[in-house]
Amino acid sequence: MSDLLDLDIAGASEALDARRVSSVELTAAYLDAMEAAAGLNCFVTPTPERALEMAEASDRRRARGESGALEGIPVGIKDLFCTCSIPTSAASRILAGFVPTYESTVTANLWRNGAVLLGKLNMDEFAMGSANVNSCHGPVENPWHRTGDGAGDRLVPGGSSGGSAAAVAARIALGATGTDTGGSIRQPGSFCGIVGMKPSYGRCSRWGIIAFASSLDQAGPLTRTVRDSAMMLGAMAGHDPGDSTSADIPVPDFEAALTGDVRGLRIGVPREYRVDGMPDEIEELWTRGRDLLAQAGAELVEISLPHTRYALPAYYIIAPAEASSNLARYDGVRYGLRAGGDEPDDMYENTRGQGFGEEVVRRVLIGTYVLSQGYYDAYYLKAQRVRALIRNDFDEAFGGVDAILTPTAPSDAFAIGEHEDDPIRMYLNDVFTVPSSLAGLPAISVPAGLSVRGLPLGLQLIGRMFDEETVFRVAGVLEQAAGFAHRPSGGA
């Protein structure tokens, strides 16, 4: 059955169309692979019965000649998306026992387009983290391993969508949803050697996605190829009156944007992304990406995004501030964990003290502090002003270029346990992804090479607001030219 698992979404769709395989056969192959790779700890709630029911229903639809954009394709869902009657935890003890009575808009869109649910995927608690080590379900293991020294080390998949990225890389899901607030789709995409796409803010509805930082959170796909990413995003996106920030604009045919032609496009290379202490291999990968796009006929242009270095500290005010507000709802009254207490205040404090993990407590406290009386202007408004400057930098740059090329992350995957006692060191993982998040822009990570330790490295392409098409177009050419065909040693 392993050849079935080798099909990407586009290939599996073709095989399903040609009746060479049924969705039930494909789904069963994935369920077997999931079980065999359970040690990676990707799936926190596998849903094999639901998967087979959905696959059977899909085969019946196909037999009737009805076929959605992802008809019969088995996918995994980050455990941040509410799924009706299936436990949804946000990887937090505080949501113990929570079973939503409603379905998120993005997952409802996927099911309407024929996708099949394999199960819910591990993540960092409330999507806060860059290594998937902050989970009440335990860490996720990256299916990749170092060559040579440290070959036996268990590596992180990145985060926060670490279960999603590891599952797709390990071939135990054909695609997976992720969410990205400051890099949580793109950085794990880079660490796991797959494609991770964060669309423009507003492209996908946030309704039914457990909130972290509402002005930043966006859903997107993790897939093996750029074409799969375009197909899956098309099936997730769309306007939704349930999310007032969801964009009321048509969803383009993203797959049609993959023309394979970047001749005449201008690609910006921001000089400020050459950060202190960046490893040579990241610089070399970036140079190679520039060369590949130039050979394909694009024009590479050096640009300046002067406020880049202030993006990360601004993000670590804005995101915790919004999180402290969003997470106020976990009070032990309406759902999830309740700890004892003689009075309501005791009960709230005990519930939240026991229910939230370390990183969540850290961010809720930072957020509470920067929003507290006397500090609001100095921190929160200051950060929002810096956010405006970062957005202006991009607006000016996009006056002269069509897309921007940068590295995705400043390193390859590190070992589980590394950097855990140093929050700021962990935050620096997102140094290249946070600026476009603050600006709301679409950005994708494409696997482009291997580090000296034999681990995948991604390059990031950033586009204009709501111009995912150009991002996909350039990403498709970069993917083809880079020819990344390496496979992880772990997984199916």
């Binding site: 009156p241 202030y310 009075e343 003290g353």
Partner: protein, 95 residues
């Protein structure tokens, strides 16, 4: 700006998170590290810049003021850790 132990204790109280003394001590160190790092924002002149709260450039939509959802108490209560009849139950409030 540096946070003392009392300020962190007060912030945790505002956030309704019970921290034992060990955890509180650890947080004092970590939060001070993070805030010191954030302070580099003071290098940026933002005197002539308006704060950016929304990136879409779209105005918030309006709709007719009509009921579109609701009247489903059972679904709302189904995850309640404790309930009495059709209500959420909480510890007694003693005034």
């Amino acid at each position: 700006m540096s946070l003392d132990r009392e300020t962190v204790r007060q912030t945790a109280l505002l956030a309704r998170i019970r921290l034992d003394e060990d955890r509180l001590e650890r947080m004092v160190g970590e939060l001070n590290g993070i805030l010191a790092w954030i302070d580099q924002l003071n290098e940026v002149d933002t005197s002539s810049v308006a704060p950016l709260a929304s990136v879409t450039g779209h105005a918030l939509p309006t709709r007719a003021d009509s009921v579109t959802d609701g009247n489903d108490a059972e679904a709302v209560l189904t995850n309640a850790p404790d309930r009495v009849g059709g209500y959420f139950a909480v510890p007694k409030v003693v005034e």
